[in-house]
C-alpha cells in the first residue's frame, strides 16, 4: 500500500481545470527548448522524469527493467501560469511536437481570482456563438424586374459622410439666374463634413499598441488614401499621437481621441499652431463596448520612454483613465461644452463627436445630441468590442449588442426625420467571425453610416492570436507574443510594420470588393444603402421583429 502522503494531491489542480491542455509528443520533441523559451506565460517548462523501461533481447523473452532520467516538457498546474492557448510553442516547434488544445470542461474562472483579484485580460467577449450580425442575410436580390448591377463594371461609390449634416430646409441656398448658390449673407453655421470610407479603424492608442503595430496601421491608412484612393480613417485612441505625425499632412487621415485621462493632449495642443492639416475628426470617448463604465489602464510596464513622452507623463507608472469623464455629468451642459471646446480649438473646421458604449440608454444620448447642432455623429460600441485591458466580468457580461442598439437609434432618428443629419457609427464585433464586409453592410442597412473595427484589424493585419475561446488575450500584460500590444522591444521586433501596413491595405481592398459584391446584386451603387432594411432578412422571428426586418426561412 502506498503511503497516504503520496496520494494526497489536494493542494494541486489537475490539468482538467485549465482552459488549454498542452499536448506534447515525446517521440517528436528534440528538446531544443524553443517552446519553453517563447511561452509568454511560462505555462510549460522543461523538467526531468524518471522513466522505467522494460527491455528484452534474443529469441526468448528475457525482460529486464532499467530506470533512466529523461527530459520532458511539462505543463505547470499553477493558475497564475495557465496556458492561454496562444500557440506560440507550436509556431516555433521545428517538429510539430507541441500544441495547446482547448478544454471545454475547464473551470478556469472558478480559480482565476488569486489574492481576491478578479481575472483581467485583453481581447473581446468570450462568446464563440454566431452573433446577430452574422445571422443577418441580404435577401433582396435584384432579378429581372430590376437588373442587378455589375460589381466589376458599374461605377461604385462606397463612401459615407462623417459630420453633422444640415437638414435640406436649412441649407443657405438661393437661386440666382436659374442656378443655386450659397447665400453668403445667411451667416448660418455650415458644419464640417468629411467624405470617408464606411469602414474605419477604431480607437487603439499608441501605448496600448506597440510602435510597429500603430505605425503599420498608420502607414496602411496613409497608403489606402494616397495610393488606392480609399479614404479610410483611423482613430488615435487615447494616448496622443507621434509629434511628427501631428505636424504632417497625413493628420487628415486620423481621428484624434480625447478620453477621461486626457493623455497626449498637452502635446496635441502644443502642436496645434504647427498643424498643416486638420484631423479627420475629434472623438470624445465616454465609453467603450468591451468594458462599459470602466476606465482605461495602461500598465506601468508598457509606459516606456516614447509612450511617456507622447502622453506627457513619467515613465513606468500605471496610467489610469478614470471610468467617469469629468464632462460626463450633464449632457446638456458639460458634454455640449466639451464638443464646443474641441470644435473651437480647430476653428469649427473639424467634426467632433462622442463615443459611448452600447447601452439601453443610447437613445437618450442620441436624442440629446440630435438637439445639439455641433454634435457631428454618435459612435456606439457594442458588447463584442475589444480592449487592451479590462476585468473579465466587464468584457463578458456588461454591454449591449450593437445590432438592436444601432437599429433603435436609427429608427428614433427616422421618427424625427434626422437620420441623415447625425451619422451613427457602429462598432463592437464587426468581423468577429471574419466577415468584415458582410457585418459592415448589415450594420449600414440597419442604419449605421459607418462602422469601426479594432480586434478584426489586429487579427487580419498582425495575426493576433486572440479569439472567443479566451485564447491568448494577454494584451493587458504587455507580453503579447505577436508583438502587437507590447512595449517590450524583444517582443515587438517580431512584428514588421511594413508587413502590417501591407495587410491593412489588402484587408481594405478585399472588403471593398466584397461590399460591392453585396451592394451590386441589391441594386445599390451610388450611395451607401443606409437604413435599407428591406434588403435584410434573418431566420429568427424574434430577431426579425426586434430589428423590424423580414423573417426568412
Amino acid at each position: 500500500m502506498e503511503p497516504a502522503s503520496r496520494l494526497d494531491y489536494n493542494h494541486k489542480l489537475s490539468l482538467r481545470e485549465f482552459p488549454y491542455i498542452v499536448r506534447w509528443r515525446d517521440d517528436r520533441c528534440k528538446r531544443c527548448g524553443r517552446c519553453t523559451a517563447v511561452c509568454p506565460v511560462k505555462a510549460i517548462e522543461s523538467t526531468v522524469k524518471v522513466q522505467r523501461l522494460v527491455h528484452s533481447e534474443g529469441p526468448a523473452p528475457t525482460p529486464s527493467a532499467a530506470r533512466k532520467v529523461i527530459q520532458v516538457v511539462e505543463q505547470v498546474t499553477d493558475m497564475e501560469r495557465y496556458c492561454t492557448g496562444c500557440g506560440s510553442c507550436t509556431l516555433v516547434c521545428p517538429n510539430e511536437a507541441i500544441e495547446p488544445e482547448f478544454n471545454f470542461q475547464h473551470k478556469f474562472y472558478h480559480y482565476k481570482n488569486k489574492g481576491g483579484e478578479p481575472f483581467k485580460r485583453g481581447g473581446r467577449r468570450n462568446d464563440p456563438s454566431v452573433s446577430t450580425l452574422d445571422k443577418l442575410k441580404f435577401t433582396r436580390i435584384s432579378m429581372l424586374t430590376d437588373p442587378a448591377l455589375d460589381a466589376g463594371r458599374h461605377e461604385f461609390r462606397v463612401r459615407t459622410l462623417l459630420g453633422r449634416i444640415l437638414p435640406p430646409e436649412e441649407l443657405p441656398l438661393k437661386t440666382v439666374g436659374g442656378k443655386l448658390t450659397v447665400d453668403k449673407e445667411s451667416r448660418g453655421f455650415i458644419p464640417p463634413v468629411r467624405e470617408i470610407y464606411p469602414i474605419m479603424i477604431g480607437s487603439m492608442s499608441v501605448g496600448a499598441l506597440s510602435p510597429p503595430m500603430w505605425e503599420g496601421l498608420a502607414m496602411g491608412v496613409a497608403y489606402l488614401n494616397e495610393v488606392e484612393g480609399l479614404p479610410v480613417v483611423m482613430c488615435s485612441g487615447e494616448g496622443g499621437m507621434p509629434p511628427r505625425l501631428l505636424r504632417s499632412k497625413y493628420l487628415k487621415y486620423f481621428i484624434i481621441q480625447i478620453a477621461s485621462g486626457y493623455f497626449g493632449w498637452d502635446e496635441i495642443i502644443h502642436a496645434l499652431p504647427h498643424m498643416v492639416e486638420d484631423p479627420a475628426a475629434i472623438e470624445i470617448k465616454y465609453g467603450q463596448g468591451a468594458k462599459p463604465g470602466d476606465g482605461g489602464l495602461l500598465m506601468a510596464q508598457k509606459v516606456l520612454k516614447l509612450i511617456a513622452s507622447i502622453r506627457g507623463v513619467p515613465q513606468f507608472i500605471d496610467l489610469a483613465s478614470p471610468p467617469t469623464h469629468q464632462t460626463k455629468y450633464s449632457i446638456e451642459e458639460a458634454v455640449a461644452k466639451m464638443i464646443q471646446s474641441m470644435s473651437m480649438a480647430w476653428g469649427f473646421r473639424v467634426p467632433v463627436y462622442p463615443k459611448i458604449s452600447g447601452t439601453k440608454t443610447a437613445r437618450a444620448v442620441l436624442n440629446n445630441l440630435a438637439r445639439n447642432p455641433y454634435a457631428a455623429a454618435l459612435s456606439i460600441d457594442g458588447e463584442d468590442g475589444g480592449t487592451g485591458a479590462a476585468y473579465n466580468v466587464s468584457m463578458d457580461k456588461m454591454g449591449h449588442p450593437i445590432a438592436s442598439n444601432i437599429r433603435d437609434c436609427y429608427l428614433d432618428l427616422v421618427r424625427q426625420g434626422k437620420q441623415n443629419e447625425l451619422p451613427l457609427i457602429a462598432a463592437g464585433g464587426v468581423g468577429k467571425k471574419g466577415n468584415l464586409a458582410a457585418n459592415a453592410a448589415a450594420l449600414i442597412m440597419l442604419g449605421a453610416s459607418a462602422v469601426s473595427i479594432g480586434k478584426y484589424i489586429m487579427q487580419a493585419a498582425a495575426d493576433c492570436f486572440g479569439d472567443e475561446y479566451n485564447r491568448c488575450n494577454l494584451c493587458n500584460t504587455g507580453r503579447c507574443p505577436r508583438g502587437i500590444t507590447t512595449q517590450d522591444p524583444k517582443l515587438y521586433r517580431r512584428l514588421d510594420s511594413d508587413r502590417v501596413a501591407e495587410r491593412v491595405v489588402e484587408t481594405f481592398k478585399a472588403a471593398d470588393v466584397e461590399l460591392r459584391k453585396i451592394f451590386a446584386p441589391m441594386g445599390r451603387s451610388t450611395e451607401l444603402p443606409i437604413g435599407m432594411s428591406d434588403g435584410l432578412g434573418i431566420e429568427d422571428k424574434a430577431m426579425a421583429d426586434r430589428l423590424e426586418i423580414s423573417y426568412v426561412c
Binding site: 433582396r140 435584384s142 424586374t145 430590376d146 437588373p147 448591377l149 458599374h154 461605377e155 461609390r157 459622410l161 449634416i165 444640415l166 437638414p167 435640406p168 430646409e169 441649407l171 443657405p172 441656398l173 437661386t175 436659374g178 442656378k179 443655386l180 448658390t181 450659397v182 455650415i190 463634413v193 467624405e195 427616422v414 421618427r415 424625427q416 426625420g417 434626422k418 437620420q419 441623415n420 441589391m522 441594386g523 445599390r524 451603387s525 451610388t526 450611395e527 444603402p529 443606409i530 437604413g531 435599407m532 432594411s533 428591406d534
Partner: protein
C-alpha cells in the same frame, strides 16, 4: 416593367392618343392598371381652370360620405363629369367614377395659392383616410385643371370602358401609364401617375432605394408624403419636395436623384451648392433602374433616368407636340410625322425638359450644368 406614354401639345388632344401609344408597347404591361393624368384641360373644363377638380372613385355610400364631408368643409360643387361607362367583360365596374369641379370655401377665397394648395391636399388626404379602410372612396387628385383616371385592367379596354374614344375630354398634357405589376399589390393607389400639388410623375423600373427614401420623406413632417403603395410614388414626392418645398429650379431634380461624384461636382459652376445638396439630400439618391416622366405646375414636362441609364426612354416630336415615351414605338404612334433623326434618347447625365405648350425642348446636361 411598366410602359409610359406622355404627350404635351399646344393644342388640346384626346387621351386616346396616349392609350394607342401604350397599345404599341403592349408587351410591357400586363393589364394590372392604367393611370391617366390630364393637365391643362379643354372641352367642358376650359372655362373652369381656376377651380379645383377632384378625381376619384367611390361606392354609393362613399359618395354620400364625400358629399357630406365636402359640404361640411364649405366646398361648393360647380360641376361633375362622369365617364360614359361602357361595360367591358374583363373590367369590374365600380359604382361611381367622377371628376368634380368645386369652388373653394368662402374662407379660402382670399388666401394665397400655397394655402389653397395645402387645403386641397389636406382635403384629399382626409377623404383618403376616411374611404381607404373599406374601399368606399379613392381620391387621386384634387387640384385645378387636372383630372386623374385610374383603374385595373388593360389600357385599351379601359379606354373603351371609360368611353374616352367617344367623350370629348381633351387636354394639352396627358401622362399615361400601363402598369406591369411587380413587387407590390395590384391596388388603385399603387397605380401611376402620382400627383401632389401640381407635380406629377410616372416611372418604370424598380426603386431599390425605396425604403430609405420613404423614411426620409415621411420624416419631413409634410402630410402629403404618405401612401407609398408603390415604390415609384417617392419620385413624385422628391420632385415636389425639391421644387416646391425647397424652391430648387427643376433641373436640380436630376442632381438630387442621381448626384454627381465629387470630382464631377468640382467642374460645375454651382459646385458649392451642389456639395451641400448632395450631403443633405443623400437619402434621396436613387439607384435605378428607372426612367421618370413628369410635369410641374406650369406645364413643363421632363424625362430623366437613373445614373446608369438602365431603362430606355425617348423624347420625340415637332414644335407644338412632343411625346415622352418609354419606347420609341409609342412615339411613332403619337407623332408619326416628324424628323426621326431629331429624336432625343437622353443619356445618363441628361434631363430633357419640354417647355409649356411644347414650345421647345432642351437637354440639360448634368456634367455641364
Amino acid at each position: 416593367m411598366c410602359r409610359l406614354a406622355a404627350i404635351t401639345s399646344d393644342k388640346y388632344f384626346s387621351p386616346m392618343e396616349n392609350i394607342l401609344a401604350l397599345e404599341t408597347m403592349k408587351e410591357g404591361h400586363d393589364g394590372s392598371g392604367l393611370g391617366l393624368t390630364l393637365k391643362d384641360l379643354g372641352g367642358d373644363f376650359e372655362g373652369l381652370k381656376k377651380y379645383p377638380i377632384m378625381s376619384g372613385i367611390s361606392s354609393n355610400d362613399g359618395r354620400k360620405t364625400l358629399d357630406a364631408y365636402m359640404k361640411r368643409n364649405g366646398f361648393k360643387l360647380k360641376r361633375e363629369w362622369k365617364p360614359r361607362i361602357k361595360p367591358v367583360k374583363s373590367i369590374t365596374q365600380r359604382e361611381n367614377y367622377f371628376a368634380r369641379v368645386y369652388d373653394y370655401p368662402d374662407s379660402f377665397k382670399g388666401k394665397s395659392p400655397r394655402e389653397k394648395e395645402d387645403l386641397l391636399m389636406n382635403t384629399r388626404l382626409a377623404l383618403r383616410k376616411i374611404g381607404e379602410p373599406d374601399g368606399s372612396i379613392f381620391i387621386f387628385s384634387f387640384y385645378p385643371d387636372v383630372i386623374t383616371l385610374k383603374e385595373v385592367g388593360d389600357p385599351l379596354q379601359l379606354a373603351e370602358f371609360f368611353g374616352l374614344d367617344k367623350d370629348g375630354i381633351r387636354a394639352k398634357v396627358v401622362l399615361a401609364q400601363g402598369r406591369q405589376n411587380t413587387n407590390y399589390a395590384i391596388y388603385l393607389y399603387a397605380c401611376h401617375p402620382f400627383f401632389i400639388q401640381g407635380f406629377c410623375t410616372m416611372t418604370n423600373g424598380e426603386n431599390t432605394a425605396f425604403v430609405p427614401i420613404r423614411e426620409f420623406l415621411t420624416g419631413r413632417g409634410f402630410p402629403g408624403y404618405m401612401g407609398y403603395n408603390s415604390d415609384s410614388e417617392v419620385f413624385t414626392h422628391i420632385l415636389h419636395y425639391t421644387s416646391r418645398q425647397l424652391g430648387f429650379p427643376l433641373h436640380y431634380y436630376k442632381d438630387v436623384i442621381t448626384p454627381l461624384k465629387a470630382a464631377d461636382i468640382e467642374q460645375r459652376e454651382d459646385r458649392q451648392a451642389l456639395r451641400l445638396m448632395k450631403q443633405s439630400l443623400r437619402p434621396l439618391c436613387i439607384d435605378g433602374p428607372n426612367v421618370v416622366i413628369g410635369f410641374t405646375p406650369d406645364g413643363t414636362c421632363f424625362m430623366v433616368h437613373d445614373s446608369k441609364k438602365l431603362r430606355p426612354g425617348v423624347v420625340a416630336g415637332v414644335k407644338g407636340k412632343y411625346a415622352l415615351m418609354s419606347e420609341e414605338c409609342g412615339a411613332d404612334k403619337a407623332v408619326p410625322a416628324r424628323d426621326k433623326s431629331k429624336d432625343i434618347f437622353p443619356m445618363k447625365y441628361d434631363m430633357v425638359i419640354v417647355s409649356p405648350h411644347a414650345k421647345e425642348v432642351t437637354v440639360w446636361n448634368q456634367l455641364q450644368g
